[in-house]
Symmetry: C3
């Protein structure tokens, strides 16, 4: 409000040098290198008593090295990534309305600038939505903050004309958290040795009549259902260092719509029907702000690029060097992606990424 | 300038839950529901002596429930909605240059975050422009601020190649205002009982050779001419409450270009040649920040979706609850739209919208 | 970082009234007039010890009067024009990473809000990049700041699939500067009488395998090589005024790819293979903040709109009036452009532009 409360402005950048061992040259088999931003954001935070707002822009420009494939990369988007009104009645009951992260997987809810490894999984996103959605959530901490609940109702798939019905998506998530505990809406991928945490979480999400198994005849409406469980543990030992373990499994179900006569394009592919998960481990030195990490993922997709029951293995390892905590950080990660069955657009590849993160 | 003057940053959001009684399902006749932002803005205001600047961004994303029809909604736009330089020589002579609201209807000039009802009319916009245009305006208050004049020269239709000529649009507006009076460039839809106001305004606008009545042969250049009159009255009575009446009529003329052999698409439809107006009434309780409102509109369009001389009646009613004035407001409005002749894309419909407004 | 360091927010606008003696009407030969922004920016600057960030947005909307041709102008872009992390080890060694101006021509490196004439040359941009690129640069001043060096590695052409190879572009620039000298990364077009400066600079840039001379057969990969020399001198004489001279030559070489069987579209045209330069002179009055300027350019393009060895002469003259230095400035410039051989889309034309600049 006018000259009241606190308004804060942040810049958040993740600038990368990306190397991919494929994608360029006349045959598409030569190495590709690119400087680009993974994240390029301006954030606005306001607080006034129990009322808060958070708005954040994101600019993505001309990305050539994509999660799985290399392109000429010309689409640029400037968007309002987050825009929320938050109100805290008390610790046990808070509301947020607007555009924000929906309550399903822990990794999607981990702050983008505070991951344990380079980034979250490129396969963890739910069908028909991005990392954020629009709607309303209530959440809170109970029983001395050991238990946290979250309930939201959000758009889910937004198409009104081509979808079977205009239904909202409902999600619920809960966790129990021990030792120092996690109390916020956004999780962190690591607390860099400043906190002892064990958190066990689970979530469920549903949207009815989300897509057609047969788009031509507009029949075979299927539901979306997803569930996930996750475990996060971080423990600093004095003089030894900090150990982190984070693992999760998620199942995205679309009633086997991919078997339909003319399934909606959203029920297959990277963000279609699938299940899988990740395991991340890390060790941070006791004296030096250097953290080594390793991550492994395995995903089963009902169909990708014409291949049914595709399996994807994703391995990555590297380190974070925290010059000034998360405000100035260098991350280097090497990763290898393997497909059970290679197809024309999805072949095994390796990547190497150096990233400089600044939050100001 | 460097470390001088005052610079202020605001976030302005209008987050809505929209219900429409049509638009979804395989026949398009099922109800549609959507969470979305009506407005999602970041504003920057600077003042330094008599010089001021105002810049404001707007982000619109994936709107399904439109003013008249429901779509799949995928176009996202991030734009600089306002960007102005303002200079005040004195109360009677001020200049602004840049992108800002042109001087025609009162309702378009009412601040977007300070309407009386949910929003301004979806039919009040002038042909070939949005709510803002680029150019220069002079304005001021005279005779003890009872009289206000505004003159502007702006782009109007911006097409250079497909328009008959590259002409500017000229508008003039004047009002007389009594009691506490209105002195600013932006009007308000309500003063929430803090001001006694009666304002009578009128405006005229013209742009020569704005479009062809026959685009194929590039003949039949027509002019754009518009005029409007409006009355706003708000009166708080102690212990009884605040009463508001606001009414206007506007006529947009395009020389009957719709009768041409191949009329430009902009001379017909929602923003083409038309006339009509609105009447809004409201009552705000004396003790509680609760305001009930009702609005009625009638518009005659020369052609809409193949129907000539289409008549649209638009009725809406609801309430505003001002938690913290316009900075935190809940508005609920129910509206019904009726067409004199229903067409394939324009059928009668009802809407219900709940909106949470935050200005921070 | 959180509540540390300095964060500054600026608005920078250049609002223009453009007149072009061609481009409108049914034959395209009538005058065209347009109000528009040449620049419309919000900038964010942060400094914390030796660390700095700079991020800047740019909004371009519906431009009809282009550098060479007039269009209907409908493409709007909102982009993050700059986004950099800067670190200063010492005066002789500084690093910046992110999106910023590459180190080639002086005029491109001159601050957009501090030119000598209305604007930089519309022909000075390097092939396959905009005015900015993404990458990393090191630079510094040596020998009592008389010598400056800059080295950068940047994306250059970003296309991965349609380019012969995914190579970076490497540039090096150096200058010697006398009297008060120039020490920053961004040059200025004028110091408005506050500095005595003579600077002599040169730069070289290379990117291997940047394009095909024969795209159909994906053969004939050519390299990009460019070099430039430039001289800037400004000298204020008390009671007489300030004199400015700025001149440069640049050569953009693409191995004569335009002679290939199916040359890449980027090797020809305004930003393809070419050479040329500019000479700017100015005189600023001693007592009044009024500066008269004149500029002349000559460019040789290998091919433009089907004309081989096209020559373009560009003359412009006008004045700057500095109400409040560069923070509030009026510029008026008249310019004439002549083609050695007129073609269907490129005919001689004259322009008149009045521009109001505000930096706040």
């Amino acid at each position: 409000p006018d000259d009241e409360g606190l308004l804060k402005l942040d810049y958040k950048g993740q600038f990368q040098l990306d190397y991919r061992d494929t994608g360029s040259g006349s045959g598409g088999d030569d190495d590709t290198m690119e400087f680009n931003f993974r994240r390029n954001r301006i954030a606005l935070m306001g607080a006034y008593g129990n009322l808060g707002i958070y708005a954040q822009t994101e600019y993505t420009e001309d990305v050539n090295v994509g999660p799985f494939t290399v392109s000429d990369g010309s689409s640029n988007t400037f968007q309002m990534l987050d825009a929320q009104i938050r109100y805290k009645f008390n610790d046990a009951f808070r509301v947020r309305a607007g555009k924000f992260k929906y309550n399903l997987t822990r990794e999607n809810l981990e702050a983008c600038e505070k991951p344990l490894t380079l980034d979250r999984s490129v396969l963890i996103r739910a069908p028909y939505v991005s990392t954020r959605d629009k709607g309303v959530a209530v959440w809170g901490n109970l029983f001395n903050d050991i238990f946290q609940y979250r309930l939201d109702v959000m758009n889910g798939r937004t198409d009104s004309v081509s979808a079977p019905d205009s239904n909202f998506r409902y999600s619920g998530r809960a966790h129990v958290t021990f030792l120092d505990g996690e109390k916020g809406y956004g999780y962190k991928g690591t607390y860099m040795g400043k906190k002892k945490v064990i958190t066990l979480g689970a979530a469920y999400s549903v949207e009815q009549d989300v897509a057609y198994a047969d788009c031509t005849n507009e029949t075979g409406a299927v539901d979306y259902k997803a569930w996930t469980v996750d475990l996060f543990a971080e423990y600093p030992i004095e003089g030894i260092g900090t150990f982190t373990l984070s693992t999760a499994y998620v199942d995205y179900d679309l009633d086997d719509a991919y078997q339909g006569a003319d399934p909606d394009s959203g029920v297959i592919g990277v963000n279609g029907e699938k299940n899988g998960g990740y395991t991340k481990v890390a060790y941070m030195l006791p004296e030096l702000p250097l953290q080594f990490f390793f991550r492994a993922e395995n995903w089963s997709l009902v169909e990708l690029d014409g291949v049914y029951d595709q399996e994807i293995d994703w391995y990555g390892g590297g380190f974070n060097y925290y010059f000034r905590g998360q405000n100035l950080k260098l991350t280097v990660e090497y990763s290898a992606v393997e497909f059970d069955t290679e197809s024309s657009n999805y072949e095994d590849f390796d990547s190497l990424t150096a990233q400089l993160q600044v939050v100001f």
